[in-house]
Amino acid sequence: MNKLDFKEIYSEFKISVERISFYFEKNKEKQNELNQDIWIRVWKSLENFNNECSLKTWIYRVAHNTAINHVIKDKKNKSLMPLEDVFVSTENLEQNLENKQSIDLLNEIIFTLKPLDKELVILYLEGNTQEEIEVITGLSKSNISTKISRLKNILKKIMQKKESSNE
């Protein structure tokens, strides 16, 4: 992989990396820093890429690992929870959807997730297949299926409630 390709790589993956920075760090200033750190990591790692996986997989791994490292270093990130603990009740949906878009509610849920679950949700919503998610994250097929099933339930509730509040 040629370092001259860096510009092309940046153009192709800019939005995905910004998305990762957005969800792994709530503070705006630190989002910019994280975004920068990810691209520094990508730049430094370019010479080690030897086509052992697809470029997309490799970029996603570097980006997510840098973001996870960022979370590890941040002492404030103690209250993150696994996807299984996300509870979207009818009552809090009514309250939350009055003033917020359903996307905002979903974003708030994603912010609270532990790093690996956050990564899985982002990858799934971006349209990656379960196989691709398995390769990028290293999670087992069954684990991914269970978590995606849980995520679909959450999304269903958000979409159903939004529909009924629009009526």
Binding site: Q36, K44, S102, M159
Partner: protein, 189 residues
């Protein structure tokens, strides 16, 4: 297009208020990162190289055998700490870039466990090598200058400060830092 796809597209269409990167700055910052790591590792060795000859010199000029031995103890203690950190530094492996996230997290968990193990023994490999000598030297001075009518208060205060500093270093590392690392570990499970 079904409802989920519409929702998914709306989610994907979000824009983020994140600054464009400056390609040249990225390349510069990448080089600085390497230099910082090198500088940090050098500082530890420079500190050792300063401390060791100073205390060897004191050992040669010491008036008593005991203070000579204590100065040699400090010099070797500093060398031991330097070698210990160097040896430990060599064992730290940066995770491979191509590691998947689960592998990366496991690597980070392992590294935190190693740090916890290291910091839990700070009293043996960091505090004792230096402070045994310092406390020994100060105690000897107090003994030689002891006069019940005119206590060497300055030296006594210095001895107490050394003991408190040693206790403080032990607490900061073995209790505070270790607890913080254990919290980090919980967050990674």
């Amino acid at each position: 297009m079904n409802e989920f796809e519409e929702f998914q597209n709306a989610w994907k269409d979000q824009t983020f208020d994140i600054k464009e990167i400056d390609m040249d700055k990225i390349k510069l910052d990448a080089k600085k990162l390497d230099k910082n790591i090198l500088r940090r590792n050098s500082l530890e060795w420079i500190a050792c190289l300063i401390i060791i000859p100073i205390f060897i010199k004191h050992a040669l000029e010491a008036k008593t055998v005991f203070s000579s031995l204590m100065n040699i103890e400090i010099a070797f203690g500093a060398l031991f700490i330097g070698l210990h950190l160097f040896y430990r530094g060599r064992k730290i492996k940066a995770p491979q870039d191509s590691l998947n996230s689960e592998g990366f997290l496991q690597h980070e968990r392992d590294e935190i466990q190693k740090q916890i193990k290291l910091l839990s023994n700070v009293r043996y490999w960091y505090v004792a090598p230096i402070f045994i000598g310092l406390i020994g030297l100060t105690s000897e001075k107090i003994y030689l200058k002891w006069d019940a009518n005119n206590l060497p208060m300055g030296l006594i205060a210095y001895l107490i400060s050394c003991i408190l500093l040693a206790a403080g270093i032990i607490w900061l590392n073995e209790v505070k830092a270790v607890n913080e690392l254990k919290e980090k570990l919980k967050g990674l499970s």
